[in-house]
Subunit: 197 residues, 2 copies
DNA sequence: ATTTTACTACGGAAAAAATACGGAGAATCG
DNA sequence: CGATTCTCCGTATTTTTTCCGTAGTAAAAT
């Protein structure tokens, strides 16, 4: 559902107002800002915007408009533990939560892992970085995945060849892991990275 | 549950009072501050704010109001533009905002830049990454900074030597920039990185 | 223990804000 | 062109907010 120019103007006005004041404008304020002679006009825009999912309207509440965009910019996902060649993901026990910008997250469930080691350094993934992982069991060639091989969890680039699976590190010093299809279990796809200096 | 203008004013007054004095105002003080003729009015606001979760009221206790610290785990900072050797930061005009986990942000103001080019790739900073920058004009040796040299903005590691400033790229193919002290203007310190695959 | 001070609990009422509904001209699209 | 959507208007109605006053209860001070 696309927005018309005027509709976007109305939405932008509401969004800006919320950002500035911490509360939404009243319908009358919207009316006056755009010079409408009737509140019905404002009502119509609100209806379009809400049914389209751009706006949330807390019904019958004063200043109850909330642009979807301002609502949730980040989400909390669990930081499950460390990942490195040779060390399985630790238990979820005292799982910290970490805040992640939503634009990294698509559909599905996500978790985060702290990268240990330099095995992916040529892809700009360094020791200590937080990798954002989408939970899934399939992958395309070339994607960076969390894979379990031989009871060990590792972060590598995934390549499926005709008769084998190859897990490539991004480090000249290290060799790819080459294994049979069924010995490799994919636990997730890397969708983002967060680093703090 | 959204706040009306007046409700937010009352909440802000209470919050500010607590910040200044370490304890909350009495209801009568609130009444006088807003010029209400009845305590009932104050009561009403307290009720709205508490049921909405903005305020905690230790019932029947004097000065028992406590603004619930709205837990902010992410913050919006402006994405000012691109940064690359040779290209100045573009105008702030249509500055997008980007959501950043607060643990990256300390005190001070921050902004974000989109990295162009490979000049810092050996430090795991790749083309397309978002660099989170703290606005400051000083830096320690070895820190990654946004610096303006010769009207060009660039992201480099900063080293101050006895008689000169060196800006080191992290790329074997590129040489450090060596300049005089006064020809180098620091615009910010890199404090974090966000990458989306 | 009594008084004072601060907090609660209603009920009522005016004002402000949000909805419902019907209609109508302009723009867009097949 | 005809149908649909977008844009806008006007009025009537409902709901919420805001404020008041009075009476009662709990805590603190004397």
């Amino acid at each position: 559902m696309a927005l018309t120019k005027k509709q976007k103007e109305v939405l932008d006005f509401i969004t800006g107002y919320v950002r500035e004041n911490g509360y939404s404008p009243t319908q009358k304020e919207i009316q006056e800002h755009f010079g409408f002679k009737s509140l019905g006009s404002v009502q119509d825009y609100i209806k379009y915007l809400t049914t389209g999912g751009y706006l949330n309207n807390d019904s019958h509440s004063v200043r109850g408009l909330m642009p979807s965009a301002v609502q949730q910019n980040s989400e909390e996902i669990p930081l499950l533990g460390n990942i490195a060649a040779g060390i399985p993901i630790e238990a979820i026990e005292n799982s910290d939560m970490i805040s992640v910008p939503v634009h990294m997250l698509g559909k599905g469930s996500h978790y985060a892992l702290k990268v240990k080691g330099e095995s992916m350094k040529d892809d700009g993934i360094l020791n200590g970085d937080i990798a954002i992982i989408k939970h899934q069991t399939q992958a395309e060639n070339g994607q960076i995945v969390v894979a379990v091989v031989d009871n060990e969890t590792t972060l590598k680039r995934y390549f499926k060849k005709s008769k084998q699976i190859e897990l490539h590190p991004a480090n000249e010093m290290m060799k790819p892991i080459i294994i049979k299809d069924k010995d490799c279990e994919i636990r997730g796809l890397m969708v983002g990275l967060i680093r703090t200096y």
